[in-house]
Amino acid sequence: MRVALFATCLADQFFAEACADTVRLLRHLGAEVEFPAGQTCCGQPAYNVGHAREAKRMVRHTLGVFDEARYVVLPSGSCAGMLRRFYPELVPGDRSEALASKSYELSEFLVRVLGVESLGDGLAGTRVAYHHGCHALRELRVEHEPITLLRGAGAEVAPWSADRECCGFGGLFSTKLPEVSAAMADTKLDTLPPVDVVTSADGGCLMQLSGRSGHRGDDVRYRHLASLLWQGVGA
């Protein structure tokens, strides 16, 4: 099975090891992973702040990069959401419909396409808090998949009353309205149960929460879901 990895601009620079773990995970599950070198940015940051023209340029570029792919897997719920939900609206046509129908966030791909539920026992004894990124949750309706995989690898997923609330990243929102954005992160962090690690399918959310934790001096560990799941394989 051929799978093209769309690393996403943010993960390429800030979560490179998580992207590598994504590759390892997919190969472990029998996929042949490609990395089309022309990939850059899905266009979401520009689209979200209203620069539709610039976003469309990036959409067209990305459509070309993944034309030949059989499946496209992203270690990012928000970028996967962009491809699935907004590409066909921004650049209507067969190409965007095709890309939308073959693009998946990582945990979604594992559970819905590969039918995986239990990766191993590498997370046995680990207490995890899972942050549901808004795009994965509401655009892709990815909700139980990450939890299933984490538990399936032995992790205990701790109840967290604010787990489905927005972390306050929202792309440029975090820098346009930093005070409110930080207060939103505080709402998450103030209710965080005691856990070994906090994880999410979105690098932006992890940056936001870990950045705020750092500023507050909280002692919390953060890891990208892809890395945690690779650890879950327990090889």
Binding site: N48, E165, L177
Partner: protein, 463 residues
């Protein structure tokens, strides 16, 4: 008193910094409302109810002129005086005539967001009339001299202790009075107002066109009293409040109550057809309905944003919004706040005046999940952001940045090179002064780039 939407960031920051109690009070009130809403939605086939409500409102809006005319005919047949107000000044002028003709001295007000929007209270005071808010939450903020913070619970930003202090000062209740003692003091003070007032002012939640019925929902009973006891009743009604049939109210009364507070229906619903009839022993002698435009036609004219006119003012979007929760409504600087305010302000006030409200959102999408009439709120927020860019209202540096970024994204080699440059620049030292980075670093520690970019790891081979 309010500095307008343009001051949103500053007002939000100030509120967070100086009034942490507001964040606590608003947070717990909104969470409570939302929990009740979720339970009330789970009892019904909420998807189907919301589809129905969306379709009735869409149908009504696309036939709005016919239905408005039909409502006017029915109302007039029942002896109601119908007025049409293009602007807030036109709407307030109706009060001039009523006050003048009847020598009105006090007016009791049922909670009405449109009356806030129009500035009714200030205008009444200019006319020498004493306006008395009768909804308990509105009464509290009237005593404080503040605008409402939420469209259903105007005083959710005030804690029980805040109310104790206020009532102690103004009504003489003990500082440790329990809530029912405070409510009792307000009830006694307001009862006199109800009995003595010459004029009652309300809004309307819905107007059924085929019977000319004004439908008003409440829990306290102050709307029933305000629209029954005084001799004259004036109702200000946004033109978008029309529903086609009397029986449609069955759906909207129940869905709005479930969405707002999680109740099957409001405790008191008033279905008003007109002034008292010959065989009735009480009720107002004169009823006026003022159909208010005040920017609603401008919103209706917009091919995307007109969907916002389906709004039933339940407040569910405010209650679930993680941004609104941090500050309550005052920071938004307008009558309508939260996601609702953000999508109607650009149409009703104009985009320039409404900014940055469409940006006061992380686009999390929670609001769209709960809206009883399925307004595509996040899509409309992005729409207004696009219109702002097209209208030259976005910051210049942002536009240039977007163009530059798109240019790089189309050229993978250049993109990678620029990223490499970014990783090696000691930007952290000057980060605080930079436009985007500065905002980040003000509240968060700076992110560390990975030692090597992933594309480099790929080139080197992944084991």
């Amino acid at each position: 008193m309010s500095r307008g939407p343009g001051a949103y960031r500053a007002e939000a920051a100030r509120s967070l910094r100086d009034d942490p109690g507001v964040r606590d009070s608003v947070g717990s009130a909104t969470r409570s409302f939302d929990t009740h809403r979720a339970k009330a939605y789970a009892e019904i086939d909420s998807e189907r109810w919301r589809d129905w409500a969306r379709d009735v409102k869409t149908h009504a809006l696309t036939h709005l002129a016919e239905y408005l005319e039909q409502a006017e005919t029915r109302l007039t047949e029942r002896g109601v005086q119908v007025h049409w107000a293009e602007t807030d000044r036109d709407a307030l002028a109706v009060l001039d005539a009523v006050v003048g003709r009847h020598g009105i001295r006090t007016a009791v007000k049922a909670k009405s967001m449109v009356s806030e929007e129009l500035g009714v209270n200030e205008h009444l005071e200019r006319l020498g009339v004493r306006p008395i808010e009768t909804d308990l939450g509105e009464y509290i903020i009237q005593l404080l001299g503040e605008p409402p913070s939420h469209i259903v619970g105007p005083a959710i930003h005030k804690s029980l202790d805040d109310c104790r202090v206020l009532f102690h000062e103004r009504l003489g209740t003990p500082l440790d009075a329990p809530p029912d003692r405070l409510a009792g003091a307000a009830r006694d003070a307001l009862r006199e107002a109800f009995l003595a007032a010459d004029l009652g002012i309300s809004g309307a939640n819905f107007v059924a066109a085929d019977t000319g019925t004004l439908a008003l929902i409440e829990n306290e009973g102050n709307i029933r009293l305000s629209t029954s006891l005084p001799r004259v009743h004036v109702a200000f009604v946004g033109i978008e409040k029309i529903v086609p049939h009397f029986e449609d109210l069955a759906g909207f009364l129940q869905l709005t109550a479930r969405a707002a507070t999680g109740q099957p229906i409001g405790n008191f619903v008033s279905l008003i057809q007109g002034p008292r009839t010959g065989d009735e022993i009480d009720g107002p002698e004169e009823v006026h309905v003022v159909f208010v435009d005040n920017g609603r036609t401008a919103l209706l004219e917009d091919d995307e944003a007109w969907e916002a006119l389906r709004c039933v003012r339940c407040g569910a979007c405010l209650n679930i919004c993680p941004v609104y929760r941090q500050t309550g409504g005052h920071a938004y600087g307008w009558t309508y706040s939260g996601p609702l305010g953000a999508i109607i302000a650009p149409g009703m006030l104009g985009l320039k005046q409404a900014l940055p409200l469409p940006h006061a959102s992380s686009l999390c999408g929670a609001c769209a999940d709960v809206c009883p009439v399925r307004i595509p709120i996040p899509d409309l927020l992005v729409y207004w952001r696009e219109r702002a860019v097209e209208g030259g209202l976005a910051p210049l540096s942002e536009g240039l940045g977007a163009k530059m970024y798109a240019g790089l994204a189309e050229r993978p080699g250049a993109f990678a090179a620029a990223a490499a440059l970014m990783r090696h620049t000691p930007w952290k030292a000057v980060g605080r002064a930079l436009p985007v980075l500065g905002g980040w670093m003000q509240e968060r520690s700076a992110p560390e780039p990975s030692p090597k970019a992933f594309r480099r790891l790929w080139e080197e081979g992944i084991e």
